[in-house]
């Protein structure tokens, strides 16, 4: 069994084109090298001017034409079913954000990696919160760009249990190569059980949960190392030089400053960091949530 319902169509057009190509590549190369020796200056001291041959020109126009039309056709028939998802597909929102994938199930469950039941069509609504990404599952032979406000989707039926890589195929900035997760295919019964088990977050600080859910940690570390944004470690209470409208100012990092940074991330930029990479969370995280985030930041010294 193939890993997904699209493997057959994609692989068929791949192997057909590569097979025909290989025959031509080898054939032409062999003829070329043969001529090179057979008609070398030594073996054939006097050349013959042959200006053209209409029959040959027709033959080597018509044959490639027929072949490429056939190649085109199988490409199209392998691709067409990808365009429309079955009505009864399970709909999951797949959200791409610099540099993290997250998945939102119909009942509201949100996860970092994708889990789907076997042999049932699944439709992913592709949502970008910032720049273009592209959701790519090589084992399933599918890929679709995740473009903000474009309403793209992709669908598939997984046919083999297991865990496969999900990659980002559209360059999206510094940590593009690390925008990875997995898809796990399981039986319906296991999937139902999985849907009901919420990870136990009662021992985890609610602020940390918010950071994890919103891809904050893909740019800000908790161990002091530098990524795209300043690290969270010990950040509360420090004084920083920030650039506001091109002017450098000294500020103290306090509750108000952090909350303002979540709402208007590009208004004040810590010196040495880039503008424009962080989105505004004003509409995404509640006022209460923002306070929980600050509470959490106070705990990492």
């Amino acid at each position: 069994m193939n890993a997904s319902n699209f493997v057959e169509g994609v692989d068929f057009s791949l192997y057909m084109i590569m097979g025909i190509s290989l025959v031509f590549l080898i054939g032409i190369t062999v003829v070329m090298v043969y001529f090179l020796f057979r008609y070398s200056k030594k073996n054939n001291p006097v050349a013959t001017n042959i200006s053209h041959n209409n029959t040959l020109e027709v033959v080597w126009t018509v044959i490639p034409t027929l072949l490429v039309i056939m190649m085109f056709w199988y490409g199209w028939t392998g691709y067409k079913p990808m365009l429309t998802a079955p009505e009864d597909a399970i709909e999951i929102n797949a959200i791409g954000q610099m540099w993290k994938w997250s998945f939102e199930y119909p009942d509201g469950k949100i996860t970092d990696s994708l889990v789907v039941p076997i042999d049932e069509p699944v439709k992913l609504n592709l949502i970008s919160k910032d720049v273009n990404h592209s959701l790519y599952i090589p084992a399933f032979r599918i890929k679709q760009d995740v473009v903000r406000d474009a309403g793209n989707m992709m669908w598939f039926t997984a046919q083999k249990k297991g865990t496969y890589d999900i990659l980002c195929a559209e360059y999206c900035g510094q940590l593009h190569a690390y925008m990875l997760t997995t898809i796990t295919v399981m039986d319906r019964s296991d999937f139902d059980k999985w849907l009901l088990t919420e990870p136990d977050l009662s021992n985890q600080h609610p602020g940390l949960t918010i950071l994890q859910r919103n891809a904050c940690l893909s740019c800000h570390t908790r161990d002091g190392s530098r990524l795209v944004g300043p690290s969270f470690k010990g950040v509360m209470g420090t004084s920083e030089t920030v650039v506001i409208n091109g002017e450098e100012t000294e500020i103290t990092v306090d509750r108000a400053y952090i909350i303002e940074s979540m709402k208007n991330p590009n208004a004040a930029i810590v010196k040495g960091y880039q503008q424009g990479l962080m989105i505004s969370y004003e509409q995404i995280i509640s006022a209460e949530g923002m306070n929980q985030v600050v509470d959490y930041l106070e705990t990492i010294k």
Binding site: V46, N49, I69, G75, G173
Partner: protein
Amino acid sequence: MTATALPQPNFFQAKKGIASWIFTLDHKRIGLLYLFSIGTFFIVAAGLGVLMRLELLNPGRDLMDPQTYNQVFTLHGVIMIFLFIIPSIPAVFGNFALPLLLGTDDVAFPKLNLLSWWLYIIGAFFALGSLVYGEGGADTGWTFYAPYSVKTGTNVTPTVLAAFILGFSSILTGLNFIVTIHRLRTPGMGFNQMPLFVWSLYATAWIQLLATPIIGITLLMIVAERVFGIGLFDPSIGGDPILYQHLFWIYSHPAVYIMALPAMGIVSEIIPTFAQRTIFGYKAIAYSSMAIAFVGYFVWGHHMFTSGMSGPAGFIFSILTFFVAIPTAIKVFNWVATLYKGSINIQVPLLFALAFIFNFMIGGFTGLVLGSLAADVHVHDTYFVVGHFHYVMFGGAVFAFFGALHYWFPKIWGKMYHKATANVAFVLLFVGFNVTYFPMLILGLQGMPRRYYDYLPEFHGLNMVSTFGSWIMASGLIIMIVNLFISWKNGAKAPDNPWNGITLEWQTSSPPPLHNFDKMPELPEGGPYNYPDAISHQEKN
């Protein structure tokens, strides 16, 4: 032209001093100005390429951080595309050889020609200037896709302006060549008596003239969006990122033919000369260039099959893409047929031309995979694409460029390159090239995306092979370049016509005099490649 008793000084001797070069109106000198400026950029960008391969030798960090890597592949791509390969063959060999091939004394507008070179230099300064101040070089990839290119804090604006200025340089060169070809052919040379390199420059020039303005506008739109916040491409301010992709590829796909057609022209010169017989299917080769240039305008959407394109649009872009393959295949068949019953003198320019055919076939066949809708969904934006376009641009166009460099080397400098060393360099380049890029095709089929600073452990082996290949290739490049420099200084003196060619440039002295021909060149009877010494063959149908 009056016959003079004394031979005229050649174009190197005609004037001296730096100003006589950088303000020269002589097409041969302008060609050489381009050769040295373009060659410098090629060496820099090839160095960056080797650096990238070094980083990819092992998973994880080898020598630079992710942001630097992203800037390096952007700079590598921008230099290779805009500063090297788009101008390369037309600007260097078009300039040097076109008037010679036409039997005339210069291009139609020598001053415009000089302006093109200066625009090229100014554009280059913008591109490199963006590296040295502010937030550092752009990290968007050479495609500048929005909205990332609008959001990132790096110096995208000057890089984009550089591409804009370089576009003008390209437009002016195209315009100049079209007029030259129409107006300045030697008496008696009709369009169907033109050498095939001239035909390919003609087809290319129309693309330069008609397609380049679109990228100019698109790039200015990015600047407007970044500087004034006008919402054109960034959805967070009301723009449409897909519109950007359309505008970008409407130019950048035809630009692929700006790179490929002149290379095909070079191959069509080299093969008959070293086979010592007429080209097979002159008209098929000439007109297929025009067909490629024309159909090539309508296939840009094949870069966007996974962008959310509608089914009918995908259908049309895909089938048109497949149609471009037909004139390309016709050319390959005709080149190979030209070897048939030739009397082949195996020399380095011919080896480069045949390597072009081999590499370009792989580039073309992998292009068929990418043009097929279903297959493209899997390999789009993976290393398969990186392998594919290096096969076309490097294995194809750059190999033809190197072939031309050796082919016209004795004409330009009046010296012969050291042949044995040139053979060694060729073998290293050809082997190294394939060891570097063939593994990339397999990596792509296995699902490794491009523009990847780091990769999953299962991709390690082939990445190592590819990096080893890049070392072989780099040593070939170094040997070739050093050999050409040494031969330029100390090479043996070359006769005016070392290859026994019959196109017009071989009728003048090497190096040619300032005004190209001391006496009117004579057109060969019965077509530009109709070798008088070869047995003539009567067509029966």
